[in-house]
Structures are given as C-alpha cells and as structure tokens.
C-alpha cells in the first residue's frame, strides 16, 4: 500500500507550506500491483473527490500511461477499469514522497507512510 487513491488525498501539511504542496512526488519507489475486485460504482461516485491532474501526473511518474490527460466528461467502462487499476491496484510499498514546495520527505516503509512532522514543522 500507499494506493494512489489515498495518495490523491494527501498533501504536505508542514507549517506555512502552502505552495506546490500537492501532489507529493514519488521517488525510489518499489511498486507492487495487486489485483482487486472491481467496484466501478464506487469509482464513479469517488470521481468528484479526485484531483485529476495530480492523479494522471502521479500515475505517469510510476509508468502507467492509461489515463487521458484531461478528465473525460463521460467515462466508458474501459476508462473506469483503467481508473480502478490506477487507484486501487497500484501499491507503493517502499519509497519517498517529497513535497515540491518545502522539500519535506515522507518515507514509506512496508507500505506505511510516516507523515509525522518534525518539531520545527508543526503548526502552532
């Protein structure tokens, strides 16, 4: 895990980091693809919550080119399936997520991201 559906919901939350803080950029990634049962209704319902540009950029950075650059107005089932694959089946097990704004690196190990802030980064 870190699936891309979760990644799309995560932003850098370091104090005063408000510019270029989303999406976090993956690097040194160990990617695992695990098949998951499709629930296309869920994907359809979740669409309005997604940031499409961030999702496409991230998927491409991990070598998946299946998503169109601009969000289609109507999704075909085939496109929803591609989206299902990107959101639910791509797991980043090891690696880093870096904020383009402040440079904070969030480490992922055993599929769990550590998103605790350092002392000087904590909001006050």
């Amino acid at each position: 895990m870190v699936r891309l559906i979760t990644h799309n919901m995560l932003t850098c939350h370091v104090r005063n980091c408000t510019k270029d803080n989303f999406p976090l950029v993956f690097s040194d990634v160990e990617l695992v693809v695990r098949e998951a049962p499709e629930n296309l209704d869920f994907i359809r319902r979740f669409l309005p919550k997604l940031d499409w540009a961030a999702l496409v950029d991230t998927a491409r950075s991990l070598g998946d080119e299946s998503l169109p650059g601009t969000q289609p107005e109507e999704f075909t089932d085939e496109q929803l399936r591609a989206l299902h694959h990107v959101l639910m089946e791509m797991h980043v097990e090891e690696g880093k997520m870096t904020c383009r704004g402040c440079g904070h690196i969030y480490h992922i190990s055993n599929g769990i991201p550590n998103m605790l802030l350092a002392e000087h980064e904590v909001g006050r």
């Binding site: 919550k49 550590n114 605790l116 909001g123």
Partner: protein
C-alpha cells in the same frame, strides 16, 4: 404487517435497539418494536416481509434466531386461543412436512413436558408427514423465562419454576443469526495481530453496525491503533483507512523490509486485505488530508489514557524549551529530523479537547448524512447529556438513555452522530479550546470525561481544587516523557 419474534442475546442490552434500527436504515425498511419490554430474550417486531428479517439475521450481532410469529400468550390457554383465532397462518403449512422444536429460554424444561407440550398442538390437524430432518416447515415454541442469577442451581427451585414463564410464543422458523458466529471467527484470541488496546470482536461489530458499513463506503479510524475497529467494517465490504500517531501499533514488533505490518496480517487472516485502502502514521491534529467531504463514516475508540494516553505533536508543561523554530543541526552535520529514528516531541491531548476536535473533524471529513461513531468514557456519577459537545452541522442519534457499557464507577457510552450539514466547511484548527482550559478555576462544571485518565487512577474520588491540580501535573509529566517512538 407480519410479526416476528427474535431470540436475542441478553448482552449489551442498551445497544440492542440502536443496532436493529441501524440495520433497518442501512437496508431501507421499517421496523416497529411490538414487545412492551424491549429488553427480554424474545423481542417481537413488526416488519413488512420475511426478506427484512433475513437482513436482520445477516447483520444482527445479538440476534440468535428468528421466527414468524403466529401466536403468543401468558399461558398455553392464551396461546392456543390466539392460534385458533388465526388459523389462516397455518394454511400454507397444512400439507408440508413438519416438526416442532421446543426452546426454553433461561430455563431447562424436561423432555417429558416438552413432548406433552408439543402434543397439545394436535388439534391443528396438520396433514403433512412429520420429518425431524429437513422438514419443509419447522414450528418453534419459545418459552421465555426471566433471566435469574440466583437460585437456578437448586433442583427443587427449578421444578417449581417450570411452566412459570413470562410468555410463550409459537411460529415458524425463518432462520438463525448468521452474524453472531463472527464473534468466534473474529475473536481477538485467535487474531494474527492484536494489542492491549484491541476492542473485543463483539463490541467491534456492534459499533460497526452504527456506521452503516456496506460495500463501496469509506470508513476511517483516526486512532486506529491495532486496527480492531476496521476488521468488522471491512468484513461488511466497506473500504477502510486508519491513521495513528504511533506507528508501532500499526506495524507490530517485527521489523525489516519484507515484514507485513500487523494490521495487514490480521486483515489477510480475515480475507479483507483488499478492503484496507491504507494505514498511515500521522497526528490527526496535524493532518495531511487534502480535503473534506469524502468519508462515509468515522469509527473510533479514542485513547482515553488508561491503556494508551492521547498524544499530539508539540510540547507541553513537562518540556523545558518551546518548540524549535528551525531544524536542529547535529554535530555530524545532518539534521536531527532526517534521521530514521527521529520522533517529534509529544504532549498530552486532553480528552475534552479531543472529543470536540473529533466531532469538528467529522463535520469536515464526512459526506452529508455520514456518521461518527465513538466511545466516550465518563465518570458515571458525573455524566450529563450536555457532556457531548454541540457542533453545528452534527447531531446525535440517541435511543432512550443511549448505549452504555457500565463498569461501575465509570462507563463508556457509544455515541452515534450524523452529519446534517451539506457542505464540507473549513478544516478544524485543532487549537486548544479555551473553554476547557481549566475547569477547576472556573465556576462551570466539567464534563464527565474531563481528565479521565487521572480520574481513573485516582479511583474516581471526587475532585477538590488544589490537590487535584498537583495530581494532574505529576501524571502529565510522567505521561509526556513516554511518547511513542
């Protein structure tokens, strides 16, 4: 509408009606409670059709079996009179193969009287063959006795009591509770991973019914710990997400690159790995979540300090220096926070603040009509209904006096809230709420969960101003120094 008699466990009585209501809301049917006393072993309900009682058998953790009710009475005379008046109920069964099962509840009836009782139904004139194995219809007699804790070991007492049931019911079997066996399959004892804060399986499932968990929903636990509240939600097909300030709880002891974190090992054991979207390590008061309005339910058992103290990043009274403004450079030329074993400082998170923050967080993260379900520990004597913080856009769903698990001097209340607001609203700020700064100095009464941890270790003796202050400072100093790593 037809009546059904449910045979229900006597455990967690105050959770019974909320659970049944949640099942009816989840599947969109109406349920009416017909029994005058809703807290006996047999509960009579009115439902539109058999399919609805099947949903109750699918999901009701406390439901053991259900019959379609044909007749009942305070005595067998009343029962037979009732059944004679409703002979149409038996019509569809007249030519079916059948048997009668006798079930006495909270009492054992001798086989002889069971047989005699069954024989009194001869007048019905059932034409079908009797078949003890796989009959087309199984008639059931429930004799419901009052649950007693004393006297039942005495044979004479039991014989005198025989026949003095509260009420007797007769109907045809719909089926047995299919959710209740989950108590065994999900028992913490046989779980691949658990900790000292794991919720027991039954309560985990009961809490989960309040979230209306179902396929395609996202359910989030912001104090996930060892994940015990997410297995039930995942079992019902929901996608689940957990976060915790202490990653050791999620991961477990095993270390190294190829290890599977404990929470995911248990998820695998239950066949729900695919339902676990992610588990993340962060402080919920310093949350990386980008937006609100996308979580269907929040379920959590907040840390109230007895087994695990609530913590948040920052510095408290026990720290000598204020928070650093700049990163700390170590003698070897690296920054302290870039080291792998770096842990930020933590300070205690007072329960009154945490509770209000949790409701504010739910107001932001939940979809409209989404639910927040959590346990609120309180000092029993001091609890009042106003202890639940009021937040615009969130309302409490409460049945009667609410659902309480009582441990004597303290108890925990299961609070279910629904988001009434239709917007996301701003994210909560998680500042210390000034109202809760110091109840000792103000004239106001403190909520029943204020400083719960300290009160627990003081055996809940009443609090008086200054002494209490000292006790608190001491325990704060000791708890802050044991921050998670």
């Amino acid at each position: 509408m037809p009546l059904y008699a449910l045979r229900v466990s006597l455990s967690h009585l105050s959770f019974r009606i909320p659970e049944l209501l949640s099942i009816s809301q989840l599947f969109g049917f109406e349920i009416k409670f017909v029994s005058s006393d809703k807290f006996r072993s047999v509960l009579v309900v009115e439902l539109e059709k058999d399919e609805h009682v099947e949903r109750i058998l699918d999901r009701g953790m406390m439901v053991m079996s259900a019959i379609k009710l044909y007749a009942s009475g305070g005595s067998y005379e009343e029962l037979h009179a009732d059944l004679r008046a409703h002979k149409e109920y038996l019509e569809p069964h007249m030519d079916q193969s059948w048997k009668i099962t006798f079930e006495s509840i909270n009492h054992n009836v001798t086989e002889k009287r069971q047989r005699e009782t069954i024989d009194t139904f001869e007048w019905t004139g059932l034409r079908g063959p009797i078949r003890l194995k796989n009959p087309e219809v199984e008639f059931v007699i429930y004799e419901d006795y009052t649950f007693l804790t004393e006297g039942t070991h005495d044979r004479d007492f039991r014989l005198r009591r025989d026949g003095n049931f509260d009420r007797v019911y007769f109907g045809s079997r719909i089926g047995f509770g299919r959710a209740r066996p989950l108590l065994n399959t999900h028992s913490v004892k046989t779980r691949a991973y658990y900790g000292n804060t794991s919720m027991d399986a039954e309560m985990g499932f009961i809490m989960t019914s309040q979230t209306l968990a179902a396929p395609g929903k996202i359910i989030y636990d912001p104090f996930v710990g060892t994940g015990s509240l997410l297995y039930a939600a995942a079992h019902w097909g929901a996608y689940v997400i957990g976060s915790d300030i202490d990653g050791r709880q999620i991961r477990g002891k095993a270390k190294g690159k190829e290890t599977v974190p404990g929470v995911f090992r248990a998820a695998e054991q239950y066949g729900v790995s695919n339902q676990f979207l992610d588990c993340l390590v962060y402080d919920v008061t310093q949350s990386p979540l980008r937006r609100g309005g996308w979580i269907d339910a929040i379920i959590t058992d907040p840390p109230y300090g007895v087994r695990a103290g609530a913590k948040r990043t920052g510095k408290g009274k026990s720290h000598k220096k204020p928070l650093l403004e700049e990163p700390h450079l170590l003698p070897d030329g690296t920054y302290s926070h870039t080291r792998e074993d770096y842990v930020p400082p933590f300070r205690p998170y007072e329960l009154t603040n945490l509770m209000l923050d949790l409701i504010l967080l739910a107001r932001y993260l939940l979809v409209p009509k989404g639910r927040l379900v959590f346990f609120l520990p309180t000092v029993t004597e001091e609890y009042e209904a106003i202890d639940i913080p009021v937040v615009e856009g969130m309302r409490e769903l409460k049945v009667g006096e609410g659902s309480v698990e009582n441990f004597g001097k303290w108890g925990r209340r299961l609070i279910t809230m629904e988001k009434t607001a239709t917007d996301d609203g701003p994210p909560p700020t998680f500042e210390d709420h000034p109202d809760y700064a110091d109840f000792e100095k103000s004239q106001e009464r403190a909520p029943g969960h204020y400083q719960f941890r300290d009160r627990y270790f003081e055996s809940f003796k009443p609090r008086v101003g200054k002494v209490a202050d000292e006790v608190r400072e001491e325990s704060e100093a000791s708890s802050a120094s044991q921050g998670p790593a």
